[in-house]
Amino acid sequence: MPNDPHQFIEEMIQSAKKRQDVSVWLRHPETADLAKTVLKLTSLPRRNVELPNLAKIQERILAKIESQQESKESAWSHIPSFLKIGSAIFGSFMIVVSLTMGVAVAALQSVPGQAIYPLKKIVENIELRLTPESKVPALQIQLADKRISEIKTVLEQQKSGEISEEQAQKIVSATVKDLQRTTSAVAKSAGKQAKPTIVNKLTDMSNELKITSVNTEGSVKIEIEKAIQSTEDSTAEAIKNVQEAGIEIEPQPVLPDAVTASGKITSSTFDTISIGTAKFLINQDTKFVNLTAKDLKVGLVVDINGVIKDNKTYAVKISVILSTPEPEEPTEDKPTSTETPTVSGTETNVETDSTESPQ
C-alpha cells in the first residue's frame, strides 16, 4: 500500500470508472481484494432516468431571470410614487412633443432592427404604465400581436434579401424574448382579472406563430418554435390561473398540427391561398363551405382550417365569411385584416361537417 492510502484508493476508483487497466492491482496480493471491491462498485447497474424536456425548463428559467433583470433595471421600482407620477406626466409631455415632431409616429411604425425601434418600446412602456390596471391585459395582448406582426415583417425582409439570416435570427430572437415576457404577463393577468377570453387570444397567437414557422428554417425557425412553446406554456398557465380564480373554462386543445386563419385573401392561385403571410396549399381534400374553388378571389374574407404536414400548411376547409370582395381601405391606425390576419384556432376547429351548407 502506498504512503497516501486515500489518494491510492482515489486513483484506483478513477481508473476503474474510466475503464482503464487495473490488472496490476488485481494481480498484487495486497491490493487484489480492494481492486475487486472497487470494480464491483463501479459496475453496479444504474437506473435509467427518463429525462424531462430540459429545453422547456430552460426557457422557463430564462424567462424568469430576464423578467427579474428587467424589474431590477427598472428605475420605476426604486423611485417614490410622486416622482413616478411626475415622470409619467413628463413622459406624456414628451410623447406629445414627439408626436408633433413625427418622431413617435415613425417609432410606432418601426420594426425591430431599425434605429428608431427602441423608442417604440419606450413609448409602449409608458403607455402600459399609464393604462388603468383593468385595461392592461388588453394592451398586453395588442403588444404581443404587434411582436408577432414584427416577426413576420422581419421574415419578409429576410426573404427579400434585405437582411441576412444571421441578422434575422438576432432580431427575431430579441423579439421572441419580448413576446415571451408579454405572453407570460398576459397569462398572469388572466387569473388576476379572471378573464377567460385571454386564453383564446393566447391560443390564437400560438396558431399564428405555427403558420409563421412553416416557411422558416434554421436558426430563425428554432427561435419561432421557442415562441410557440412559450406561448403554449402561457396558455396553460392562463387556463390554470382562470380556473384558480373560480371560473370554469373548457381547456381548448392546442393541436400540434392544426392551424386556422381568418381574414382577407391576399393572393390566390389554383393550388394556393394566402392571408397575409399565412399561405395554405389547396389539394383534393380541401373542403369549400358556401363557395367553390373558382370563387376564391383576392379581398374575399374567409376562414381557413389548415393542417401542417411535412413542413407545409394544407387548407382542410375554407369557409366564406363575406361573400363579396371588399374594396381595400387601408387606414393608418387600424390595420387591415390583410396585414394582420386573425388566426382563430379552436373555435373554428370544433365545427363539424354537419354545419356546412351544401355546395
Binding site: K17, K40, L44, R47, N48, I61
Partner: protein
C-alpha cells in the same frame, strides 16, 4: 466543457449574460436533474426544484469565486432546495436524515438486474455508517466528484477522501468475510 470555457462562461454570467447562463444550464441540468429526481422521486417536483436551483444560482452567481467550485455549488443549492421541499411537506422522513445525507426516494442502482454478488455488495453498503453510505452513493452510483460530494455534505475534499477510503476498506472486509 473545458475549465477555460467554464471560466469564461462564469465570468459572463457574473456580468449578467443570460445566454452564457443558458450554456451553464446545458452543462449541468441533466446531472442535477438526476440528483434531484433520485431524492424526491417525482418528475414534476424534480423539474420545479431544478428550475428553482438555476434561478437561485443566477441570483447568487457573483458568490462563486472559481469555476472549479461551480458544480459543487450548484449541487449545494439543489440539496438545500430538496431539504426545503421536505420541510414544506413535513413528511414522516426524519428531517435530520434528509439534511445530513439526503435519503434516496428512488435507488439510483437498478436493483432488478443485479447479480447475486452485486446484490450482496449493495446489502453491505447499507450496513455502512450513514456518512460512508452517502459518499459511496454519490461517488459510485451517481458519478459525483469529490468536490461536489464535499459541497453537498459540507465537508472538505480531504475529509471525503478519508471517508471514502474507510468505506471501501470496510466493504472489502465484508465481501472477503462472506466469500
Amino acid at each position: 466543457m473545458t475549465e477555460l470555457d467554464l471560466k469564461t462562461i462564469l465570468r459572463r454570467c457574473q456580468d449578467g449574460d443570460s445566454e452564457a447562463f443558458a450554456r451553464l444550464y446545458d452543462e449541468f441540468a441533466e446531472k442535477l436533474y438526476r440528483f434531484i429526481f433520485f431524492r424526491v422521486g417525482h418528475k414534476e417536483v424534480a423539474e420545479d426544484i431544478l428550475a428553482d436551483t438555476f434561478i437561485k444560482a443566477w441570483q447568487k452567481i457573483a458568490q462563486v469565486n472559481s469555476p472549479e467550485a461551480l458544480s459543487g455549488w450548484l449541487y449545494q443549492i439543489s440539496r438545500n432546495n430538496i431539504i426545503d421541499y421536505y420541510r414544506v411537506r413535513k413528511e414522516s422522513v426524519p428531517l435530520e436524515d434528509v439534511e445530513d445525507f439526503l435519503e434516496d426516494a428512488i435507488n439510483p442502482v437498478d436493483t432488478v438486474s443485479l447479480s447475486l454478488d452485486q446484490a450482496n455488495l449493495l446489502k453491505f453498503v447499507k450496513e455502512l455508517p450513514a456518512e460512508q453510505q452517502a459518499v459511496i452513493k454519490y461517488k459510485f452510483f451517481e458519478d459525483l466528484s469529490n468536490e461536489e460530494v464535499a459541497q453537498i455534505l459540507n465537508k472538505t475534499e480531504g475529509a471525503i477522501r478519508v471517508i471514502q477510503h474507510r468505506a471501501v476498506l470496510r466493504l472489502k472486509e465484508l465481501t472477503s468475510k462472506q466469500s
